[in-house]
Symmetry: C2
Subunit: 145 residues, 2 copies
DNA sequence: TTAATGTGCGACTAGAACGGTCGTATATGT
DNA sequence: ACATATACGACCGTTCTAGTCGCACATTAA
């Protein structure tokens, strides 16, 4: 309930890792997986999804791997999460074509839609660059209030 | 991923319903379930959880049912959701005694903890009273920015 | 006092979602 | 040619979720 999937978690870890090694070589899925103790094949899958959404760029062949395709400050946590898990929807009936069978009667749909927007806003305003910064960073602390 | 459970959804619907009928009789689980086309036994279960957390008060016997035990303006969406689904945690390793096996290496734990706080803040600031108000209500719109 | 109408609660089941693996195809640098 | 990467889909076991059922207990109206 209301939890990030592990894959999304791994995605954030990977992207943050790539951000820290931005000017280095391309990092292979294997390399990243090993550093954080995650299954290599699973990490590869996660990175594939990120590559598909052009958040990272894949480079085949030996000494290949993944690199960020944007500046860390231009990548939001929301982008990474929704690239892996699909659109962030607080309820299944937020979209019009949802499978909510009681759309007419459901009285909480509209209020929840607005709560959903607020959450999207929070996630969208956190960048990878911020996540790589010091904990005392003022821009993040400002979010907490 | 990142979705409210249906039970939590039902809980919000029920609480909002009770808020609207605050000065009327006590509403039975059956009555509420029927109005929104939800299984009665399931709605009963949801209401039991809410009763357990003292969000609603149960009244046994014929012509019994449930009533809000607080003012709608004093009940947050967060209360209702966490009463049903347990504490709202964006990741499984936010708590110290979590089962995250890579606590040492995991580099996104701290940033995510702060995002989690922001989300708690959003959910905690939305009251049932607000959810029962008009869509144009300024207090809610203010949240969106 | 009895019947009707409620809640309270635990056991149970079907189905979906999630985490993770494997095999194979493809691309690339040496 | 070969080693090292990514790409991708099929597959599988486990966990979570939604929902049901049965029974016990409480209250009230008649």
């Amino acid at each position: 309930m209301f939890k990030l999937s592990k894959k999304a978690d791994y995605g954030l870890i990977a992207v943050k890792h790539l951000a820290l090694h931005r000017r280095d070589h391309a990092c292979s899925a294997n390399e990243i997986a090993e550093e954080y103790g995650i299954s290599a094949t699973l990490m590869a899958k996660v990175l594939q999804k990120l590559a598909h959404k052009s958040i990272v760029a894949a480079k085949h062949g030996s000494s290949g791997g993944y690199q960020l395709s944007k500046e860390p400050s231009q990548i939001s946590a929301l982008e990474v999460i929704s690239a892996i898990d699909g659109p962030v929807l607080i309820t299944s009936c937020v979209t019009n074509h949802g499978n909510c069978d009681a759309t007419q009667r459901c009285s909480v749909k509209e209020p929840l839609r607005r709560v959903n927007e607020s959450i999207l806003n929070v996630l969208g305003s956190v960048t990878i660059a911020q996540m790589s910064e010091d904990p005392q960073d003022p821009s993040l602390v400002a979010l907490r209030t």
